[in-house]
Amino acid sequence: MKKMIISVILVAGIAAILQSQSTSTSSKARGKEVYARYCLTCHQADGGGVPRMNPPLTQTEYVNGNKQRLIGIVLNGMNIPLEINGDSYENPMASHAFLKDQQIADVLTYVRSSFGNKSTAITAEEVKAVRAKNK
């Protein structure tokens, strides 16, 4: 009986891990589509951005650092002096608060795990929390 319980817990555990991985993978796949529609022109297909104008999404704390700040940039847009690796970026980013929590989570999960970035996923709950504080 004990063995059986352990087995059940094990199977459930593995299933949960697999599911979370698959959630993250599909979130990234969905995020790529959101990126193509709303982000790609300014930040480019490789996340490299546009010198002087639109910042790169690679090798920057803005992407790989604090999740709340990153979610806030998508929700509120950004129009403050921004310097990354010695270059300044001047174009404003519009608010993308019209995107759903899940879409923002997906696109940020995609950005944080693409273009050489290796940061953790972002969930719809995390987006929801920042959006609630925002109001």
């Binding site: 022109t41 480019q44 490789d46 010198p51 129009n79 174009n91 519009a94 019209f98």
Partner: protein, 413 residues
């Protein structure tokens, strides 16, 4: 702003002005040759040639605290071997007229007396002639040109895409009248020899110009010529009117002759070179068909969209074949917002002109700066043409603000 002038005499760590091999192959028409005269100077925006052969470069990113670099070929062997750096500000504009070097940062214009001293310039004699111009980040570079009557023309780019209530926000409406036009979105005229002029001292010479990065005085007709960056995001904001391809092709990048008081129509209209019309922008009720701004002038040339004409030079030299005289060279920086379509530009174009009017179709004059056939991601382009200058001998110089190269294009009979 407290102005200090820094002079550095240093080893060649900043950039290199030894004989250079270019890392790209520049293609030009038969009879022209291209040599690399500078490399690795960083963000080299506009450039100017003095009559003694000195090359001045304006930097967008300080190098060892300096934003202007002068290169000189001391022994006249064709290699720039002497470097002088000064000016503790970043910026784009630089020009030479009647014994002065003029240079801008993103809100001011300075000038320095040129002379026959060992340095060639009196950097301590700097004067600030224009100050307090809008620097609201977007489109803040101040390009300059000078006429023959003691005036300097300064571009004040609009800190906006198309004067929406909320800049670059989808479906945000355009503002009528656009309040930005009082202080930006045009060309302002100032005196070359009066200190600390600002808006109250200058004249709004031409308006309705979103962001003109290239401008030059055409001495053949004694008028100002400008190249203008058109608006962004037609397809991204209005997919009901523009698909991916037409949003990459439109609106036109443009070249105008502007006279005092002219209006080029921004933000209400954009030029459409496929229809040859001033088309009302969707933010102001347009649908890709409706025209608008009847008061606005039309451009001399409409180029494909988003190529980014960053420098304009009306050729007055005698070295190149006769067809080039009084025509326009335009350095296209290369697009980014043709995405997801491939990028375009990264070349120098020639427009044949006589009496200030085009006499034929524009053609690509110098190409290959990007170092690849097709640029998909902007970051892959090796070089981006940004500035143009004409040497006393009639050679054409092209600068690059990606890796800080300068090329010299000459014609050999």
């Amino acid at each position: 702003m407290k102005l200090t002038t820094l002079i550095f005499v240093f080893s060649a760590t900043l950039g290199s002005c030894m004989a250079q091999q270019s890392d790209v192959s520049i293609k030009t028409p038969d009879g022209f040759t291209t040599t690399t005269v500078a490399a690795n100077f960083g963000r080299v925006r506009h450039i100017a040639m003095n009559s003694n052969g000195d090359l001045y470069m304006k930097l967008e990113r300080l190098s060892k605290g300096c934003g202007i670099v002068r290169l000189r070929d001391t022994n006249k062997d064709g290699v720039m071997d002497d470097t002088l750096s000064f000016g503790n500000y970043v910026g784009t504009g630089i020009a030479i007229k009647n014994g002065y070097l003029y240079a801008s940062n993103n809100s001011s214009v300075f000038r320095y007396p040129l002379n026959n001293s060992k340095l060639g310039i009196d950097t301590a004699g700097v004067q600030r002639i224009v100050t307090g111009l809008w620097d609201k980040r977007q489109h803040n570079s101040k390009s300059i040109a000078l006429d023959n009557a003691g005036n300097i023309y300064v571009n004040i780019g609009a800190p906006s895409n198309v004067c929406q209530e909320q800049d670059r926000q989808r479906k945000s409406k355009g503002r009528t009248p656009c309040p930005i036009l009082d202080s930006a979105g045009g060309i302002w005229q100032f005196k070359v020899d009066k200190l600390n002029q600002s808006y109250a001292d200058g004249i709004r010479y031409a308006t309705g110009i979103r962001n003109c990065v290239g401008l030059d005085w055409n001495n053949e007709v004694n008028e100002l010529f400008v190249t203008v960056h058109g608006r962004d995001e037609l397809y991204q904001s209005y997919p009901e009117y523009y698909d991916q391809k037409s949003g990459a092709e439109l609106p036109s990048e443009t070249m105008y002759m502007v006279k005092k008081g002219d209006d080029c129509g921004w933000p209400y209209v954009h030029w459409d070179h496929l229809q040859n019309k001033k088309i009302l922008n969707p933010e102001f009720g347009g649908d890709r068909v409706k025209t608008g701004a009847d008061n606005a002038i039309s451009p001399l040339v409409g180029f494909p969209g988003h190529l980014a004409p960053n420098a304009l030079l009306i050729y007055s030299g005698n070295q190149f074949p006769a067809k080039y005289k009084n025509g326009a060279f335009i350095a296209f920086h290369g697009s980014w917002n043709r995405s997801p379509e491939p990028q375009e530009g990264f070349y120098v174009v020639f427009v044949p002109m006589k009496n200030g009017k085009p006499t034929g179709k524009w053609e690509v004059f110098a190409n290959g700066f990007a170092g690849m056939e097709t640029v998909v991601n902007l970051s892959a382009a090796k070089h981006r043409p940004c500035g143009l200058a004409q040497g006393a001998d009639g050679s054409l110089y092209v600068s690059d603000d990606s890796k800080g190269y300068v090329w010299k294009i000459s014609y050999k009979n």
